[in-house]
């Protein structure tokens, strides 16, 4: 029904506007906005005063005006903290320009959204880490860098594994687009971090509404978009080198990039990039975190051609990482778990080492992408093909010589194909229609000598979408709808190690509607409501047994409650997960203060999660076991941020993330929900001072409050006591629980200073920073190691970046 009515609405909207299409106006003005460091600027405002038109740059800094009538226009480019750029432009045919903005050093002006600005390109709740912010987070993993964005957090497994969380949801509910391709790894595991080298990105955007329409299912929490810098289009070679050293973990990271044009062939460009990282054992303030080292080696290469009409690109990237998991988390049974949790210093703790032993993970990810687009007078056609190969091996302490044999060894191959057709029937609206397909094969690599934790499967998915954008006076309106189908063929082994096979099918509709409006001169309001769904992951349906450091058995939704036999999906009351999300963003600019507030409400029907169900005994002892089950969950929160420019050099930036999440059906709380967090940064910037360039000094104070909205606590000791009395502690009350109280709130203080040296064609950026300067001992609620060990102690970071 939703689908049909959206089509009708689209048709109605199209007939309303079709009569107004201009006839003689076919000029185009497009280009890219870059900063001093030639990095794309996302969200810069461009207005054409003659045409009463305006837009903002997209994630790669590009902007585009179509259907301009011949004539002279006044162009104005604005970005907060940068000098305005104004010039006159004669439009006749197609004009392409690269526009450079300079950082504003004299006086920081308010950016007023001008009267003439009729509409903006994006009706999304978009937050971005730009090139500068990414450079300052260099050396961190992608998931850790993203924590800079209000509303974005992480589920952590020790110091090496960060899984992004948007507005309280994660894993299968967050979609990551790497170079435009859906990242397909083994996302189901809370200890499986995204396999992406952050150095391949020139900026990373987070879409906080469920704008899944273009990208497919699963974006219930939002979308993380990893954008590369555009390829060079003319001759000459450039590049950069990064060297980063950190004291905590005695880590070294080296990353280099080279790019250039191809001979005198205008429009051709290439880039090659690589990163090597080595980290030893991290340390908490009072002890070493034994076996938390990381080894990473990544590289990528791309080449492509672009001109005004068409473009194509080939991109290949390889990611490989070998990382250790705190040895003190190796657990055999519930008694071991009690021991591990009660220890003040984790078992196996020894002095610093770069060695990585069991438990550990070896992950490899390969991505090949081929994309192209062609512009015609009627519109633009974009095609994209992606191939991904993901290999994950997990090693544990095992009996015999099996420690060298992975207990989990999975190979996941994914092919995706996408086609999109975008037309601009008139100045007043655009429409984009597309189809996507995915073929995915998950295979265990034979020889693990264990009952496989998840079965082999084939996944075939197909989708159709249509999105339209309508400009109505002060309003920009986005409407979209999408239909998706998924087919699974599954073959695996159950607890008895006997074969089961089944096929499953899911299909559903997603829809979104958004509106952006300028309120007076200085406010912008963005409203979005969307309904998204996701098919269940095979792991949620068929998981059996225990996996790395879980110390609990996990059983999929389709396993019988009492016998664990695999059931047919029609025999259980399974419904696909469906989210209804409302997000509003209001931004207001005063002369020297800007603030943004983003309240949101996400109601997820049939939310799938692991619920404690009982106690099971085998010859190793007793275990708590968890079953995937469904409830309705409510996520309610707000992100707030502001920038106060005290004077031209001093900037105060507060950020606040608030969230409460509850299990509505059981009137209970959910576990591992990020607590409220508050941050205040004070930054002093001097673009030129005493011969130094880009000098800055920054102090950031963070307060992470205790999670008071946590489920009840049932300690391991209580569970063990109950077992000794011959009772099942969950028999009468099977409410959600956690093994430990939420840790107390904590305060962290980070500082950094930096400056640049500029030569004729090279620039050196130096940065010295410290995290947890006070060496505070703390535990983070969303870190799965909080049961066993303190979080990281003081860390000094020194980094040098050379751009040439």
């Amino acid at each position: 029904m939703i689908f049909r009515s959206t089509i009708l609405l689209l048709a109605a909207v199209s007939s309303f506007f079709s009569h107004s299409s201009a006839q003689e106006c076919n000029g185009t003005f497009k280009g890219r906005v870059l900063d001093d460091a030639n990095q794309p600027m996302v969200g810069a405002t461009i207005t054409l005063s003659g045409a009463q038109r305006g837009t903002t740059t997209n994630a790669s800094g590009d902007f585009h005006f179509d259907r301009l009538c011949k004539g002279v226009f006044r162009v104005k480019v604005q970005y907060l903290g940068y000098e305005n750029l104004e010039f006159e432009l004669t439009i006749d045919g197609t004009i392409t320009k690269v526009l450079h903005l300079k950082e504003d050093v004299r006086q920081l002006q308010e950016v007023v959204v001008e009267d003439e600005l009729q509409h903006t390109e994006h009706a999304h709740n978009l937050a971005t880490l730009n090139a500068k912010q990414l450079a300052e987070a260099a050396g961190k993993s992608l998931g850790e860098s993203l924590k800079e964005i209000p509303g974005v957090n992480s589920i952590q497994t020790g110091p090496g594994i960060f899984k992004p969380v948007i507005h309280g949801v994660h894993s299968q509910r967050v979609l990551i687009l790497n170079h435009g391709i859906r990242q397909e790894g083994q996302q189901w595991g809370a200890e499986h971090a995204p396999e992406i080298d952050p150095f391949i990105a020139s900026n990373v955007s987070v879409v906080k509404d469920a704008a899944s329409i273009k990208y497919g299912t699963d974006a219930i929490g939002g979308v993380i978009i990893v954008n590369p810098a555009p390829l060079p289009e003319s001759a000459g070679i450039g590049g950069s080198l990064n060297l980063i050293g950190q004291t905590n973990g005695r880590s070294g990271t080296f990353s280099g990039m080279l790019e250039g044009g191809i001979g005198n062939h205008d429009g051709w460009g290439w880039r090659a990039q690589g990163t090597a990282k080595r980290t030893g054992d991290f340390h908490a303030p009072s002890y070493s975190l034994t076996n938390t080292g990381i080894r990473e080696l990544n590289f990528s290469a791309s080449t492509g051609f672009h001109n005004e009409r068409l473009g194509f690109e080939i991109f290949y990237s390889h990611f490989s990482s070998d990382l250790g998991i705190l040895k003190g988390t190796s657990i055999g049974n519930q008694g071991d778990l009690e021991e591990a949790m009660e220890r003040s210093v984790p078992l196996y703790t020894s002095s610093f080492s770069y060695d990585i032993g069991e438990p550990r993970q070896e992950v490899e990810h390969n991505l090949l992408k081929i994309s192209g687009h062609i512009k015609t007078r009627r519109g633009e056609l974009r095609l994209q093909y992606g191939f991904q190969n993901n290999q994950r091996r997990e090693f544990d302490l095992r009996i015999g010589d099996l420690s060298n044999t992975p207990e989990l060894n999975l190979r996941l191959n994914t092919q995706t194909i996408e086609a999109e057709w975008e037309t601009v029937p008139s100045e007043k609206w655009t429409i984009s229609t597309g189809a996507t397909g995915m073929f995915q094969q998950n295979r265990k690599v034979d020889g693990t000598q264990r009952v496989p934790f998840i079965p082999d499967f084939n996944n075939i998915s197909a989708g159709l979408f249509s999105v339209t954008k309508v400009y109505l006076r002060q309003w920009t309106i986005d409407i979209g709808a999408r239909y998706d189908y998924r087919y699974y063929s599954v073959a695996g082994y159950d607890y008895k190690n006997s074969l089961f096979q089944s096929t499953l099918q899911f299909n559903n509709v997603s829809a979104t509607a958004g509106a952006t409006v300028n309120i007076r001169k200085s406010g912008t309001l963005n409203l979005n409501v969307s309904s998204a769904w996701r098919p269940p992951h095979v792991a949620e349906l068929y998981s059996v047994g225990t996996h790395q450091s879980a110390a609990a058995n996990e059983y999929g939704f389709l396993l019988n409650d009492s016998t664990n036999e695999v059931l047919d999906i029609d025999a259980v009351s399974f419904k696909t997960e469906q989210a209804l999300k409302f997000v509003a963003t209001y931004q207001h600019n005063w002369k020297d203060f800007t603030f943004e507030v983003t309240p949101y409400l996400n109601y997820i029907f049939n939310y799938i999660y692991l619920r404690p169900t009982g106690i099971s005994q085998n010859v190793r002892g007793t275990y708590a076991y968890f079953r995937y089950t469904q409830t309705d969950a409510l996520f309610l929160g707000a992100d707030l941020s502001g920038v106060w420019r005290v004077n031209p050099f001093l900037k105060v930036t507060p950020k606040i993330s608030l969230l409460r999440a509850s299990d509505v059906r059981h009137d209970d709380y959910l576990v591992f929900i990020p607590s409220n967090r508050y941050e205040l940064a004070i930054r002093y910037d001097r673009p030129t001072i005493a011969g130094l360039k880009n000098f800055f000094a920054e102090s950031t104070a963070k307060y992470i409050s205790r999670q008071n909205r946590a489920p009840r606590v049932v300690t391991v000791a209580e569970i063990n006591d109950a077992i000794e009395r011959g009772e099942d502690p969950f028999e009468e009350d099977d409410a959600n629980f956690d093994f430990m109280e939420a840790p107390p709130g904590y305060f962290l203080w980070n500082v950094a200073v930096g400056m640049s040296l500029k030569g004729e064609s090279t620039q050196y950026d130096f940065r010295l920073g410290s995290e947890n300067l006070l060496n505070t001992s703390y535990r983070e609620y969303t870190n799965r190691f909080r049961y066993y060990a303190d979080d990281l102690g003081r860390n000094f970071i020194i980094s040098v970046k050379c751009t040439f």
């Binding site: 009996i399 099996l402 000598q449 009952v451 082999d456 084939n458 607890y495 058995n553 009492s562 085998n618």
Partner: protein, 196 residues
């Protein structure tokens, strides 16, 4: 779910024909222990055998113990332990886990505890709570440390209680004093015991 039955039928036909996943190769599961067998062989007479069996390995059913360890007062027994995977066939190499433990004796250790008084030798209540507690080990690893697949026991005065066996995996951690709280648990089983 039946909103677009035609599309589904079409997709199904296409995909079910060509895209079903093949059956993966069945894994051996040598670590899975579903049965612990205790054989008490007296110096004279018939051996006494008791077992603890887990019917479903990683599944949710509890371990079943097939009765009392019934010993004769003041009699001396040699206890041998055997670990097997009852979900495998006896002909499969993964059936006998005892061998694996023997091969890695320097990383494994059996701890015992019992209700005080059921044995006259060793005295005390075992070495689970305190490693120094006496247990008569009859075997050792390459480092000369005891293992516990074979032990010797002399029953005490008539009484009843419990007998618990814990097997710990202690890679690089096993020493003459390593407590039962160290390492990963491979076996933790409790039997009722009776001396008549």
């Amino acid at each position: 779910m039946n909103r677009l039955p035609i599309a589904i039928a079409l997709f199904s036909l296409l995909f079910v024909l060509g895209c079903e996943v093949e059956s993966p190769v069945r894994e051996d599961v040598p670590e899975l222990i579903t049965q612990v067998t205790l054989t008490f062989t007296p110096t004279d007479g018939e051996p006494l055998i008791v077992t603890a069996t887990d019917p479903d390995g990683e599944g949710v059913q509890d371990v079943q113990v097939d009765g009392n360890i019934s010993l004769e007062t003041m009699k001396t027994y040699t206890l041998t332990l055997s670990l097997t995977n009852g979900l495998a066939q006896p002909s499969d190499p993964e059936y006998d886990v005892t061998e694996e433990v023997e091969e890695e004796a320097h990383e494994h250790f059996f701890y015992f505890s019992w209700t005080n008084g059921v044995f006259s030798d060793p005295a005390g209540d075992g070495n689970i709570d305190n490693r120094a507690g006496a247990v008569n080990y009859e075997d050792e690893d390459v480092n000369g440390l005891p293992l516990g697949l074979a032990t010797v026991w002399t029953a005490g005065v008539p009484s009843s209680g419990e007998f618990r066996i814990v097997l710990k995996h202690q890679p690089d951690l096993k020493t003459a004093t390593s407590e039962s709280t160290i390492g990963e648990t491979d076996v933790d089983i409790t039997f009722p015991i009776k001396v008549e």
